[in-house]
Symmetry: none
Subunit: 401 residues, 2 copies
């Protein structure tokens, strides 16, 4: 990947349109002789593969299994090692919170402590999401600000919530309060650098007042905070690539990740059909569309092979609606692999399909992991995907004379 | 790519000989089902492919279209982002000027200005090359030196010339004088760093005296300068790789690029046949030969598919003469792709053919982009080509014990 400064100097705005269609966790491994992508009936994807070119892209590097954050950061063209997204920020984006650059967000767990202040359950018996919402309301009513710092609390799910500290002079370099083991007290937040002293003091004041507010609410009578983080200072796609980028995603975390790199997030419905309809309705307003399909990953995580196959077939069946819009460049890929066999993210590279008038056609004729392994694009860092899309849309000028 | 210091510590001089045969702009995309390399009848290259191994090499990175400068820097084994060659240097090498490391070269345009000094034509009505030569003679007679700095002027073509400033204490970090738009005055050269103040002063003095000398020569009554640059400080091939390298190229720019990395430039004729004859005549004097065939690129730029096919066939027909010399290692590749469809350089990786007694033979049997995509070398940075050639010539020792 060339440096951002070079990408910025080469990119030009043109009327051509790019669609990056991401089936989350698409890549898989074979079970009973086939991967879900191989088992699925996908005549449209197979035709695109035959007329286009295939390859494999590495989200991070060989053997490295990425979380959704780094996988998308890479797919959007940024170095995932350099631009790491803190747990607190990821959690906040995951519930669609809009953050300011100077905010410090943290992931919170409701927890149980005994009379001596020792932690007896790090998840407060996994209280219900409804109970969580009730307690967040209790805390929010009791604590508006600490030491001049605004505190914003939001329920995530079960025992998980997000706390955002907002105000001047905050710094994310604060240590976690979770002792990680039972029978110990929670650890006071500490400033890891002098600049974070104000933040650590505010956090500790917040915890003291939260303990007071939660006193009568055992098992959720305390909280543990970790992943203190501010939004990354990441160059925006408009500036780097001179794109007008938009994101279409049904899950908040992916909308949040897209927002971090400068995409406009378009309201959409719950289904792939809704997403393609949103794409159509906004076609004239943008020149880059990130369209995110979540369910391939969800079923991979569940180990549900037939359901993953069905999602892929659904996308293939709906693809003609996307193709009717005549994108100049279309890429179909995953952010990372989620093999049903592993029921989780994996290190396997992503199948990658590229369609444009300028691709170098290869000898592949179906969209599958095995055909991608011998495709014309070879194996490349996912971070380079954007440059490839821009080049095929004739949006990159020559480097050097 | 391993660091230069490691390459230097591993390389050894041996009697083996390497030929790097570069067909400029060789890579292409299909039109009516075939690329020029696929359409060409190339029995010799196909046999070499079957007995050797293929791959694809990236001049810079996915999606990045290189100019000839960075493409060759990469092919010669250097990081093309680190070692960037300025416009002035490239222009000077393009007319075979020999430069000193401390020279500052700049590309000049003859231009027109009105009585008020406003630029009315940035190319002086594209005057003829003959007129250019006449005006360069006028300026050269009037201006030998400015502020103790020697000025060397050479005609390039039409309105383009090269000015080289030669003397002690010069620095390339000087701003361009071209206002880029009509109706403005040319911009005085400014030092971008304090070390360049002497150079900027000399440049401005030169412009003032050139304006005086050109006063009566409207439309070419002034000049615009850009791309101030010194030869890059680039490690020489002799030192890094312990090679005795020679370049055989019909076009001056490629001779100039080869000279920058330490190659001896051999006089040759105009045709591929001449070049192969030069190779034969100098076979005993060197152990590394860069042989450059230009016309594949020229016809790619013209979009002339049949002519590009013919050049490839001509090379194939002449190849037995090269093979008679029994090179220990032969690579056939491009510096970048120049698809006829795009009529210009592109981002597509280079087809790469490697022949030596030690290659790991793969399943390919013809030299084409598609077969290269499934070749045993896979896809690799062009910058690593030299290490691959040296290794196959048994010119690299083991790294570590």
């Amino acid at each position: 990947m060339v440096p951002d400064s070079v990408m910025k100097s080469l990119s030009v705005s043109t009327p051509t349109r790019i669609v990056l269609l991401v089936m989350d966790g698409l890549g898989d491994v074979r079970q009973q002789g086939k991967t879900p992508l191989e088992a699925a009936r996908t005549p449209v994807l197979d035709r695109l593969a035959a007329e286009g070119t295939l390859g494999l892209s590495d989200p991070i590097a060989s053997g490295i299994t990425p979380g959704s954050g780094p996988a998308h950061v890479s797919l959007f063209g940024y170095d995932p090692i350099r631009y790491q997204i803190g747990r607190g920020i990821l959690e906040a984006t995951g519930i669609d919170m809009k953050l300011k650059p100077s905010d410090v967000a943290t992931r919170g767990n409701f927890a149980s402590m005994d009379a001596g202040g020792l932690i007896t359950d790090r998840r407060a018996g996994r209280i219900s999401t409804e109970k969580n919402a009730e307690l967040v309301a209790v805390m929010s009513a009791a604590i508006r600000e600490v030491k001049g710092v605004e505190v914003i609390l939001r329920t995530v799910k079960e025992h998980r919530f997000v706390a955002v500290f907002r105000g001047a002079g905050l710094d994310q370099r604060v240590s976690e309060t979770d002792p990680q083991v039972l029978g110990k007290k929670s650890i006071p937040a500490a400033a890891l650098v002098p600049e974070a002293q104000k933040t650590a003091a505010a956090v500790n004041e917040f915890i003291a007042r939260a303990n007071e507010a939660l006193k009568a609410h055992h098992p959720a009578n305390t909280l543990l905070l970790r992943g203190f983080s501010s939004p990354p200072t990441i160059p925006q796609m408009q500036e780097l690539y001179k794109l007008k980028p938009a994101a279409i995603a049904t899950y908040p975390m992916y909308r949040g990740l897209a927002r971090l790199v400068g995409m406009s997030v378009l309201p959409t419905g719950e289904t792939v059909e809704d997403e393609f309809q949103t794409l159509k309705e906004n076609w004239d307003r943008f020149d880059f569309f990130f369209v995110h399909v979540k369910k391939t990953d969800s079923y991979g995580e569940d180990g549900n092979f037939p359901a993953k196959v069905k999602v892929i077939e659904e996308v293939d069946r709906l693809l003609p609606r996307l193709l009717e819009l005549k994108p100049d460049v279309l890429a179909v890929t995953g952010d990372h692999s989620t093999p049903c066999l592993l029921k989780g993210h994996s290190w396997h590279p992503n199948p990658f399909l590229l369609s444009s008038p300028y691709v170098r056609v290869d000898e592949t004729n179906a969209f599958s992991e095995a055909q991608c392994a011998r495709g014309g694009l070879g194996r490349f860092p996912a971070e380079e995907s954007i440059a490839l899309l821009l080049a095929n849309a004739l949006k990159l000028e020559k480097f050097g004379a």
